[in-house]
Amino acid sequence: MATETIVYDKIKGVHKIPLEEFYTSGHRTCQGCESATTMRAFIKVAGPRTVVTGSTGCMYVANTSYMTTPWIVPWMHTQLGAGGSSAIGMAAGLRALKRKGKIKDEPINAIAFCGDLGGGDMGLSGISGALQTDYDLLIIMYDNESAANTDIQATGLSTYGAQTTFTPPGSKHRIMQKRWKKNVAGMLAVGHPTCKYVATACATFPPLDYMNKVRKALAVGGPTFIHTYDPCPKGWDFHPRYSHEIGEFGIKSGLYPLFEIIEGQVVYTYDCRKTAKGRTPVKEFLEAQGRFAHLIPEDVDYIQKRVDDMWEEWDIPGVAPIKGVLKA
């Protein structure tokens, strides 16, 4: 399988996960913040020879309260739509300095993270630009399905029907969030033929999956992209105790397809097709969150139908919403 063709330092079990932290305690994130786990895990496996930029968003504002920082590795803020361009800047600068002998020639990871608003909406063209370069860089889009830092507004990646401060249920319109979730990882993979690695992941489920995807992305080299699904206790309205479960529900229900696209080959890392693991009802996922409290059974059925369609009808489930070719 394609995934085996990558030579990388695979973490083979939870006891083999590096113990040392490079994003450490003392950040202003929510209790049970899954995005904080996403941060912690990527830098843990990337290691200390890494430079990081973080776009404006929760993982910027919550993590760093001035004159303090939870980061042990070098970290820099970048603007909301600058996830891709900041990664290029760091990678290009380091490459030039090494080549010209101005700094020691050694591998240094350049990683940029951005949220769904910054990366999936505003910064999309910058990320596209980054994925067209030949720089070694990794862009991680942590997706908590909202502008979580401005008190939860809908983005292009919010789940259909979700309540946000821009999409409140009303007496006339029960559902204000009528947009279907934008498929960013699939779009980027399909649109950038020379990008060797695109993946989706969830910080804590399945165990090790995300950490190994980060390791693979860095090992493959060139510009790479990982989209993580980050349950948000604040905006999705569930108790922080259940951050892991909510992510697991979302993935097992097939709502959040987990895959890798390695040099043009798709590998499902949690295969929700009926022929494979199958799916749990999306109802279980929706009921567990206050942001869906206003939905009625028909809404749930509609979401279920679209998810079933994605897994059973699309030619490449979860990646490209294409059902085949019509004869001319």
Binding site: C30, G32, S65, T68, V73, G235, Y242
Partner: protein
Amino acid sequence: MIKRVEINYRGIFQKNLGKKIGSDIVIIASRMGRIGFSNGRYSDSPERNGIPCKYFAFVSHDLSEEELEAECGAKLDIDQCDISVVLDDTMLKGVEPWGWHGVRPINEKVQPNGTLLVVTKRTPDELLEFIAKKPYSWKLATYSGDLSFGGLWVFRDDLTHEKTLGAVAGIDSDIIGIEAAEGYLRYKTPKEPARAEAARLAYEEVRKTVRTVKPGEGVEWKHEIPVLPKWFEFMEGAAVPAVKREFSLGPKGQSRNETFKRGTTKNQRPVVRFDLCTKCTLCWLECPDQCFDQTDDGLYDIAYEYCTGCNKCAQACPVKECIVMVDELQFTDDSSPWEAYKANPEKYTEWAEDRKSTGRYIHPMVTGTGLEFLEGELVPFGGKRASPKK
């Protein structure tokens, strides 16, 4: 004359509650012909789950709205208040909303003869074991209630809102009167007399529980309040030093952000039965705040001063009764539980079981739908390893 009310609440869980209380104080006061306005501490936003936040309500009988605004409005925090409401009694251990703020006493802003008003199931005397002493005398009053946590979208409607209005009226009728509060609640929800009744009951309750706290009564405050550097005393280019890289096995082996700890975010902390631990790593792996330090014997110590009490470790732990969340007011220090266990396994386990006891509460998935009360199981030291969770 200005009356200032400060409402201390836990971010997000009590955001709607805190705001409703502040708003209704102003509405009721203005129904009484008084001038008032309400605001939140702006820099608390965007709020995070559990972070200590503040909402304010200001009332005057004689000042113009503009004068009142000038006195109270153009500020990010207040200097002093007549009443400081506390919506979660675990905040009595101190509040630290951001870095360089320091862990401040909850009664910091309570003025001479002002009142700290706490919704709790404990007595004032029990609470005073946590509250900082003051050079002057002030008042402490309590009214009973369960922890009232909701979510951003699903509000926890357990009458804490109405009780608090009644309690405020009970302490200082110059802010709002109880009849006016009842009248307003009946007018707003004519079909729900329970709301006005709840206000009246709390009104009577606080008038019984209120007691004067003498100068020097309370605890010595051990947390330093940091002094902010002058403009030429820190790096230019908006750069700040990173946390120094340090790692070794054992307690505090991992370097952490020294200038912003998160301890005051939690209202529960995990108590660990090291003797039941299977070393599965899950508590350490799931912790979003990197609080677990692996020890040389493969167990996981906890840096409690950084623990936010999110419950994830307790949820992830596959062993029954191994990690249990316990109310934060059961603890007086943040010392290493693993060291206590190693020093005397039996004594530690006894202590841990005593903290855990058997009466527990847990939040459902949608926080605002209420607390679930459960019966825990006591597991004596050396007793058979408890059965795995189903």
